[in-house]
C-alpha cells in the first residue's frame, strides 16, 4: 500500500472478496522526506501515514516493511548501471520483478500468506492470463509482463476491470481519504524529476562527442552519454545544423567510445527487434501478434519468435525510438482485454528492409 488510491481500493476489494488481508507499506527511501511535493516521489512519511489510515478504514492490520536496501541494490543501482551501459531501463518494471513480486512475495509466502495484491491496472482472471486493463490510458500490463508464471500465480490485481475514475469514485464511497490524492508520475526515487541531474550525481560528468550517423562528422559534445535516450530530439544543442535543416534525433549510444550518434527521423526506424531474457507464456514459440516497445508506446503488428534465450520480432510496420533496456511485450488482441503472451528485454533494434 503505497499511500495512493489504487492500492487502497485494491486492498479493500481483496478484503471484500473474503480474503484475510494484511496491509504492507514498503519503505524504499533511505532518507524518506517528510512531505510529498506534488505528484513526484513516494515513500514519504506522509505516504506511510496515508496508507495506514486507509488500512484503518478498510479494517486490516498494517505494517511497514523496510526494503530500502533491496530496492537500492535491485532497482536504483540497476537503473544507474543500465544508463551507464547505454541502455534505457524501466525501474517500475524492475521493481515489480525484483521487489514487489520477489522480495515482498517471498517474505509474504514464508510468513504464511498466499499472494501479493497490488493496485496495478491490469487484469488477471481465473484463466491465469495477464491482460490489459479496461482503462487503456492507465494500463500497466507492460510493466507486469516481466512476471513469470510462478509470480503471476501468486499475484492478484483487483482493479483491472475498473477505470481509474471508477476507482477514485469507489475510494470516495468507501470513505478513503486518498480518493482525490494526485497520481504519482515519473521515477519515485528521483524526487525532483531531474533524471539527468540524478545520473550525473551518480556517474559524474563524462564529456564525449555527438556524431552524425551517416557522415560520422562530429557535431557537438555532451557531458555524459547516459543523459540521452534513443529517439530523443530535445536538448541536443548541436552547433551545426543539418544540411536539409530537419531536426535530428538520438539514434544510438555507444558507451565504449562515449559517443552519442544522431541522425534524421527516418534513421530511427527499425523493423527488427532482438531481445534477451524472454518470459514466454504461449505454447507456440512463433506467433503473429502485436508488440509494444515502451511504456505507453504505440503497438505494432509483428511476427515474434522465441528461441535459445532470445526473442526476435519482425515488425510489419517500422517503429521509432526503440531503446535497448526497454521491454518488448507481446500481446494477442482480444475483446476481453489484450492478452500478454510474453516479454523480453530489448538488446537492439535494426533495419533490415530498405528505407521507403
Amino acid at each position: 500500500m503505497s499511500g495512493g488510491v489504487d492500492s487502497a481500493v485494491a486492498a479493500a476489494r481483496a478484503k471484500d472478496a473474503g480474503h484475510d488481508v494484511t496491509g504492507v507499506h514498503l519503505a524504499l527511501a533511505r532518507n524518506p522526506q517528510t512531505y510529498r511535493t506534488g505528484a513526484r516521489g513516494c515513500c514519504t512519511l506522509e505516504d506511510s501515514r496515508d496508507a495506514r489510515r486507509a488500512a484503518d478504514v478498510i479494517g486490516i492490520p498494517f505494517y511497514v516493511w523496510d526494503m530500502a536496501d533491496e530496492f537500492h541494490a535491485s532497482v536504483v543501482d540497476d537503473f544507474v548501471d543500465e544508463y551507464a551501459a547505454g541502455r534505457t531501463p524501466n525501474p517500475c518494471l524492475r521493481c515489480n520483478e525484483k521487489i514487489k513480486f520477489a522480495a515482498v512475495l517471498d517474505r509474504a509466502v514464508a510468513l504464511g500468506f498466499d499472494a501479493v495484491v497490488t493496485g496495478h491496472h491490469a487484469r488477471l482472471g481465473a484463466d491465469g492470463l495477464l491482460r490489459r486493463s479496461v482503462d487503456l490510458a492507465k494500463d500497466q500490463s507492460y510493466v507486469l509482463a516481466v512476471l513469470t508464471r510462478a509470480q503471476l500465480d501468486r499475484a492478484v490485481f483487483p482493479l483491472g476491470d475498473s477505470t481509474k475514475e471508477r476507482v477514485r469514485a469507489e475510494a470516495a464511497e468507501r470513505g478513503l481519504a486518498v480518493a482525490d490524492k494526485p497520481d504519482s508520475h515519473d521515477i519515485c526515487f528521483i524526487a525532483d524529476g531531474d533524471t539527468r541531474g540524478f545520473l550525473e550525481g551518480r556517474l559524474g560528468s563524462a564529456p564525449g562527442d555527438i556524431v552524425d550517423g551517416r557522415t560520422g562528422a562530429r557535431l557537438g559534445t555532451h557531458n555524459g552519454a547516459y543523459g540521452y535516450t534513443i529517439g530523443q530530439r530535445k536538448g541536443l544543442n548541436l552547433r551545426v545544423p543539418a544540411e536539409d535543416g530537419r531536426p535530428r534525433y538520438v539514434l544510438s549510444i555507444t558507451p565504449v567510445t562515449n559517443t552519442v550518434t544522431v541522425g534524421p527521423r527516418e534513421d530511427l526506424e527499425v523493423d527488427t527487434v532482438t531481445a534477451t531474457r524472454p518470459i514466454w507464456h504461449e505454447a507456440s514459440a512463433s506467433v503473429r501478434c502485436d508488440v509494444q516497445l515502451r511504456a505507453h508506446g504505440e503497438v505494432v503488428p509483428a511476427s515474434v519468435t522465441v528461441a535459445a534465450g532470445e526473442l526476435t520480432a519482425r515488425l510489419e510496420t517500422p517503429a521509432r525510438g526503440v531503446a535497448a533496456g526497454q521491454a518488448i511485450v507481446a500481446y494477442r488482441p482480444d475483446p476481453g482485454g489484450d492478452i500478454v503472451l510474453g516479454s523480453a528485454t530489448i538488446t537492439a533494434g535494426t533495419r533490415e528492409s530498405a528505407h521507403a
Binding site: 494484511t22 506511510s48 517471498d106 510468513l111
Partner: protein
C-alpha cells in the same frame, strides 16, 4: 488476546480511572483564586504530597509534566543550560549508551545545537554501566561536566542500573545526576532521597495512571532552566495549566503501585520466570537477554536467531498476542535496537529481538496463549528470514 506489552503502556488501575472521572467532573483551574480554583489546587497539592510520600521526596520537589519525555528533556536540557550558564567551562553531558530516546535525542540535540560534548557510558553484555568506569570519568572530567543521566531501569531488556553507586560518585564531584525511572517506579524499590539522585523522571501510564502526565522530581537546590515559558505554575521551572484529573489519577496510581510493589514484584517475577523457562523450552536456541539478578520483574527479552523481530511481531499479532521489538520506530520502520548493539549484539541479533513485558493484570493464561503461538511463529519467521538476501 494476550497483552504482553506492559512496558509500552499498562492498563489504568480501576481506582485511578475512578479518581480521574471524579476529578474531571469538577471545575476549576488550580491557579484560580476563587473557591473552585482552590478546590482544584487542593487536589493537585494533595496528589503532589501523596507522590512525594511514596517516592521519598519532599512535595516541593515534585514538578508535574506532560509525561516522561518532557521530564527527561527538562532534566537534561534544563540542568545543562543552568550549569553551563553558571560556568561556561561545563559543557560535558554524560549519559549511558542504553538510554531511552527521550534522553538520547535530547542530549544529541544539545551536542548539535548547544555546544555540549556528549559522553556515552558503555554497558556490559547484560546492559549494566560499570561504576568504576564512571568513577574514572568523573575524576578526569568532573569539573567540566554539566549533567549526568543514567536510567534506573532499561525499557527494552529490563536491566536495573547501580543508581545509588553512580549517583554518589556524581554527588562527590558536585555534578547533578538525573535518572529516568519511568520503568522502575512500582517495579523495584525507588527512593529519591535515599538514592542520592538530583533529579528523577516518572510517568503515569507505565504504572496504571493516565497517559500525558508525569513528573520530574527535582532536588530543591538543583538549578534548572525552563523548557516551557508561561505562567510558571510549577516552581517557575515548568509552565502550563495543571491537568488536575490527570495529576489526581497519576497520584493514585503511583501510591497504589508503590505500596503494592512487593507482592506485585514477587507474583509477576514468578510469572516472568515461568515465561522465560517455557520460551526457552519451546525454542531452545533462543537467547534470553539482560541481567538475571538486576532486572525488572515483568521483563523478558529474547533474541530468536534467524528471525526478524518484526516478522515475529506480525505473526504473533495475527494470533492476538501483543509484544514489542523494543526498537525505535520512524514511520514504523524497525531499526536494530541501540540497546542490544550497546550490549555487544551484532545487527542480526539486535534485529531478531522481542520483548515480552508483564503487568498487574498478567496471568498464566497469557503465557499459555503465547506458547501456543510462538513455536509456529518462530518457524515461519525463520523461513521468511531469507528475504533479506539481495538478489
Amino acid at each position: 488476546m494476550a497483552y504482553l506489552d506492559h512496558a509500552a503502556t499498562t492498563p489504568m488501575l480501576p481506582a485511578a480511572l475512578d479518581a480521574y472521572a471524579t476529578a474531571a467532573r469538577a471545575i476549576g483551574n488550580p491557579s484560580s483564586l476563587h473557591a473552585a480554583g482552590r478546590s482544584a489546587r487542593r487536589m493537585v497539592e494533595e496528589s503532589r504530597e501523596r507522590i512525594a510520600a511514596v517516592i521519598g521526596a519532599r512535595p516541593s520537589e515534585v514538578i508535574f509534566t506532560g509525561g516522561g519525555t518532557e521530564a527527561d528533556n527538562l532534566a537534561t536540557k534544563g540542568v545543562f543550560w543552568a550549569r553551563r550558564d553558571a560556568d561556561p567551562g561545563r559543557r560535558r553531558v554524560v549519559v549511558s549508551a542504553v538510554e531511552h530516546h527521550a534522553v538520547l535525542d535530547a542530549v544529541g540535540w544539545l551536542g548539535r545545537h548547544e555546544g555540549a560534548e556528549v559522553t556515552y557510558l558503555p554497558v556490559d553484555g547484560t546492559g549494566r554501566v560499570d561504576p568504576a568506569g564512571f568513577a574514572e570519568l568523573v575524576r578526569a572530567h568532573g569539573d567540566e561536566t554539566a549533567v549526568v543521566s543514567v536510567q534506573w531501569a532499561n525499557n527494552e531488556v529490563g536491566t536495573v542500573q547501580p543508581i545509588a553507586e553512580l549517583a554518589a560518585l556524581a554527588a562527590g564531584a558536585g555534578i547533578p545526576f538525573h535518572t529516568d525511572a519511568v520503568q522502575a517506579v512500582g517495579q523495584v524499590p525507588v527512593d529519591f532521597a535515599g538514592s542520592g539522585v538530583a533529579a528523577l523522571t516518572l510517568t503515569g501510564h507505565k504504572l496504571g495512571g493516565p497517559v500525558g502526565v508525569g513528573a520530574l522530581v527535582l532536588g530543591r537546590d538543583v538549578a534548572c532552566t525552563p523548557l516551557l515559558h508561561g505562567g510558571g505554575q510549577e516552581r517557575d521551572v515548568r509552565s502550563g495549566t495543571l491537568d488536575t484529573p490527570g495529576v489526581v489519577a497519576f497520584a493514585v496510581a503511583v501510591e497504589t503501585t508503590v505500596r503494592a510493589r512487593e507482592q506485585y514484584a514477587e507474583r509477576v517475577a514468578a510469572l516472568r520466570d515461568e515465561l522465560v523457562r517455557r520460551v526457552l523450552a519451546a525454542v531452545p536456541d533462543a537467547i534470553h537477554n539482560g541481567d538475571a539478578e538486576h532486572r525488572l520483574p515483568g521483563n523478558a527479552h529474547f533474541s530468536f536467531p534467524g528471525c526478524e523481530g518484526d516478522a515475529l511481531l506480525l505473526l504473533l499479532d495475527a494470533k492476538g498476542i501483543y509484544c514489542s521489538t523494543g526498537s525505535a520506530c520512524s514511520a514504523g520502520v524497525a531499526q536494530p535496537s541501540h540497546v542490544l548493539l550497546a550490549m555487544g549484539a551484532d545487527d542480526a541479533r539486535a534485529r531478531s529481538s522481542l520483548r515480552f513485558s508483564l503487568g498487574h493484570d498478567s496471568t498464566e493464561a497469557d503465557l499459555d496463549a503465547l506458547l501456543a503461538a510462538l513455536p509456529g511463529a518462530v518457524e515461519r519467521a525463520r523461513r521468511a528470514g531469507a528475504w533479506k538476501t539481495p538478489r
